[in-house]
Amino acid sequence: MSSATTPPDSDPSQRRRVHSMLKHYYGLNEEGKVTEQAESLDPCDINGPHFDPEVYLNKLRMECSLGELMDHESCMVKQIRSLDSDMQTLVYENYNKFISATDTIRKMKNDFKKMEDEMDCLSANMAAITEFSAHISGTLQDQHAQITKLSGVHTLLRKLQFLFELPARLNKCLELQAYAQAVSAHRRARCVLQQYSHMPSFRGIQDDCHVIMEQLAQQLRQKFRDGGSSAKDLSECVELLLQLDEPAEELCDKFLSHAHSSTTNPFLSPTAGTDILEFIDRGCNEFVSSLCLVIASYQELFINRPQEGELASKNIPEMANGKLHVFVDTLAARYFSLVERRIQEEKGVSDNSLLVRALDRFHRRLQAISKLLPGSAVPSQGTEIVVRAARERIKQYLSALQTFYHDSLTDVRQALAAPRHKDATPSLPELLTSLSNFILNQLKSVLASVHLFTAKDITFSNKPYFKGEFCSQGVREGLVVSFIKFICQSSRQYCESAGDRGGSTPPALLLLLSRLCLDYETSTISYILTLTDEQFLVQHHTPVTPVTALCAEAREAAQKLLNHYVKVQGLIISQMLRKSVETRDWVNTIEPRNVRAVMKRVVEDTTSIDVQVGLLYEEGVRKAHSSDSSKRTFSVYSSSRQQIRYAPSYTPSAPMDTNLLSNIHKLFSERIDIFSPVEFNKVSVLTGIIKISLKTFLECVRLRTFGRYGLQQIQVDCHYLQMYLWRFVSDENLVHFLLDEIVGSAAHRCLDPSPMEQSVIEVICERG
């Protein structure tokens, strides 16, 4: 059998082998022919199907020896035997099994029979039970229906009872002021009543309820209106009223109107006498805070309330919000107008910090509203008010500065007009410095005041207006530049108004102002502007007036003032000279013994002008003098000695000669512009004044007719002027030329031209 277990190569062969083995098992082939296909045909294969014992035997016989045959035979016998015993064992075993199976089947047969009987019995029982059950339920059905009906009636009755009791209950609630219960009770009953309102009894109830609820609503409204109640009460009230189908808009309106009266009543009474900080404080504390409260509670009531039921559909918050905005806006508008009026009353510029603080508080408190009511325009309007106030303030400061300037000028005027005690009255330079210091200090203090607007701790200082426009357009342009321009302009006005209406401005003031403007041009303007720029960190977004333009303006003003000063002073001296020439009878005058008083006056005045101008302006350059360096201290004598050198042309030998001489002189001399602009120095100013005076003298002399002594008087006078005036001017030849002209003209207009001896003239003049 070992060969039979050899693994076959393919399935069919295996199947066949098993098949063969079974064949073999069942004795079809004793020796079994479990050989391979190739071998199976071998008749010598003892296990093969084609085993041919004969062939096998023959083969053995032929091939094997006896011994081997013998061995082979015994082996064969052994195998046969073992095979037989195996077969017997198998048969036996199978038999036993079969027997036991048969037994089991028999037993089962018996058991099933018993079970069948029991099952029959069971089904019979079940049928009986079914019958019974049907019977019972049939009998119970009536009763059950009755019970259901009863229980329904019961609930209905209870509801009805609730309804019938409702008016009473509501009344009771009303008495107890348990409004919430009343409302919830009524709410429960409401739809039922509504539904059955066609039945008279229900209708009655409904009507009763209506009346009661009306009453209740009335009370609620009353309570709501009284307003004395706390916010919580109020909110409850509102909630209840809302539930009572009270229209929300009306409620909002009522609430707001109530709030309106409560917020405004205590505050909006015009208050005089309180300072602005106090005013704003009151405004903030009373108005703004109560407004905030109102807003908060209102929002609580109408806007932020969780919405339920049909109320949600009405879109209350939106409506309420709108109403709130309108409400806040109108109130704020009133408040703002009041505040603005109050701010406008704030004219005194003494203490700006109060105003700034007030504005700051005002602005700060409005921020609260912006937090509460994000979309509101109120804070921005508030900011605008602050901005306006700031602008207004700048204007006020400007006008204050201007008044201050005018006042200072008036002071200066008074100081100038005051009788001149030599020590008591301050001198011109002192006045100038004090004036300029006053102005500068005032300007600085104003800047400091205005600077408060941009202080870091002020809430509105970080607004773009205060960062940019306020600094550049407001302070720099509106205040500083305007003020400087004002100074220049008012100075120029002094020139114009005084020019026509005859010297209403004291000349010293003109001189002072001229110097002031010049100082402004050289240093003060740039100083002030730099100061401003630094203090206010001005960033020039918009074009601003450049320093140079202002300086030019100041210089122009200074020039104009100085020119005007020259003109006015020249005019004063001219008038003196003119009067003196016009009023005298030059034909019948007596022989001159003295210099006329008016000439002394002219020299005195010129000297005092010289001193006056010298106090404020530098000396200036003169053309090379023939006299030496000590010109200021020249005594009368030395100067008169000096005089001799220029004297010749004074003593005209004949009138025609003088004429010729002066004509020749004129040919070679430059044309003299009498009223011409002067330079900013003393010499130039004095030259201008003397030029004007002498020219007037000349023109007046030409209009008169002189007698012999008249001419001599003019000679004396001119010589006297010559002695004293030359030192004041830049080019003494100018004085000489003009005086020559005067004497020449006088000689021409003389009926009897016999001039005085030069020596006599000198004696008279030196006598003084």
Binding site: V587, N588, K666, T705
Partner: protein, 387 residues
């Protein structure tokens, strides 16, 4: 185009008085009165020959005294008035008289200057405007464009209207007015308005300008403080009846509308000393001449307050006739108020300027040293005004 050079004529004596011969419309003729205390005074008749650019002069003797003011009759070119100062008993009084030029002067004008100065003819006295009761005469004004029968003399603070009768040989005062009040009341200048039927007069005293109605001899307006200082001269705009120019010691020339006397219409401040004389051009009132003691004469173009503020209106036909000028015209902008020219030919104070009566583009100026300068309006401007 080049302008002709100014023509200069020198007098031997100093002079203040200048006038155009008003009645003469053909020849360009000026009259100058001299001022000399020692020598006989003269009236120089300056004839300007425009063609040849030369001056012909004749001299008439005025032996009454030095001449402060001179004025020619509008009707008779031989008749003129002078204000002259007369010294008697060591008292100087300025008198006024009407004179007639001798008929032969014209023939004498062609003689050599030396001859005429050696042997000048004398003016024929017609009549005195007797002022002994009223004081010195400042000026004598003829009725503008009148028949030469009426003159006004301003003496101190009196204003006298004279009727000249019997060929001007007799003068009688027909009416008079006296300025009374405080302050300096002496008249310094006056002008007879050519408008309103010659019934108005303007006078200046001190800083005020006053208007007078000659029918009632009463004041009709008064511009107080018209100038900061003395008012030296006045002139009426010949074409605009309410417009008036004044000048004075404040170096300004002011233009007034006498209906609104609070403010001047315009103010010029171009001179650097007193302005002594102001004259409107007789035909083109935008042209204004001023003379000043800064020795300058200034010709201004005051278009904006003239009667032709937009320039001469030109017809298209006229333009098409002259294409050249049309092109030239288009290249120019409308004229602005401006100084046209400053004339600096004088070396001394200019006390009088005057337009020629015959040629509207020509004017004379006289300075104290006796220099008479004749100038023309620049040609460019002339053509602009004309075309």
């Amino acid at each position: 185009m080049e302008d002709d050079a100014p023509v200069i004529y020198g007098l031997e004596f100093q002079a203040r008085a200048l006038t155009a011969q008003t009645a003469e419309t053909d020849a360009i003729r000026f009259l100058v009165g001299t001022q000399s205390l020692k020598f006989d005074n003269q009236i120089h008749i300056i004839d300007f020959d425009d063609e040849n650019n030369v001056i012909n002069k004749s001299v008439l003797l005025h032996d009454a005294g030095e001449i402060w003011h001179i004025s020619g009759s509008p009707a008779d070119k031989a008749v003129l008035t002078t204000c002259y100062s007369k010294t008697s008993e060591s008292r100087v009084l300025t008198c006024a008289a009407v004179w007639r030029m001798p008929p032969e002067w014209e023939s004498g004008s062609h003689e050599s200057p030396d001859d005429s100065s050696n042997n000048p003819q004398t003016l024929e006295l017609l009549c005195h405007l007797d002022n002994t009761a009223h004081g010195s005469v400042a000026c004598v004004l003829w009725e503008p464009m009148g028949d030469g029968k009426r003159v006004i003399s301003l003496a101190e603070n009196h204003m006298l209207l004279w009727d000249l009768q019997e060929s001007s040989t007799k003068a009688t005062i027909s009416s008079s007015a006296t300025l009374e009040g405080k302050g300096q009341l002496k008249f310094t200048a006056g002008k007879w308005s050519p408008h309103h039927n010659n019934t108005q007069l303007a006078t200046a005293n001190d800083t005020a300008i006053r208007g007078w109605d000659l029918r009632s001899m009463s004041q009709i307006y008064c511009i107080e403080n018209a100038h900061g200082q003395l008012v030296r001269d006045l002139d009426f705009n010949p074409n605009k009846q309410y417009y008036l120019a004044s000048c004075g010691d404040d170096c300004k020339v002011k233009f007034w509308d006498v209906r609104h006397i609070n403010e001047p219409v315009k103010c010029l401040e171009e001179h650097s000393h007193w302005v002594w004389s102001v004259r409107y051009n007789h035909s083109h009132d935008q042209l204004l001449l001023t003379g000043s003691s800064d020795s300058r004469v200034i010709l201004s173009n005051m278009v904006s307050i003239s009667s032709e503020p937009f320039g001469h209106l030109v017809d298209d036909d006229e333009l098409s006739d002259n294409e050249e000028s049309q092109q030239e015209d288009k290249g120019k902008e409308p004229l602005q108020d401006s100084i046209i020219a400053t004339y600096e030919e004088h070396e001394d104070s200019v006390y009088a300027v005057e337009w020629s009566a015959a040629d509207p583009w020509l004017f004379a100026s006289l300075s104290y040293d006796g220099r008479l300068v004749i100038n023309r309006v620049p040609r460019a401007l002339k053509y602009r005004i004309l075309l």
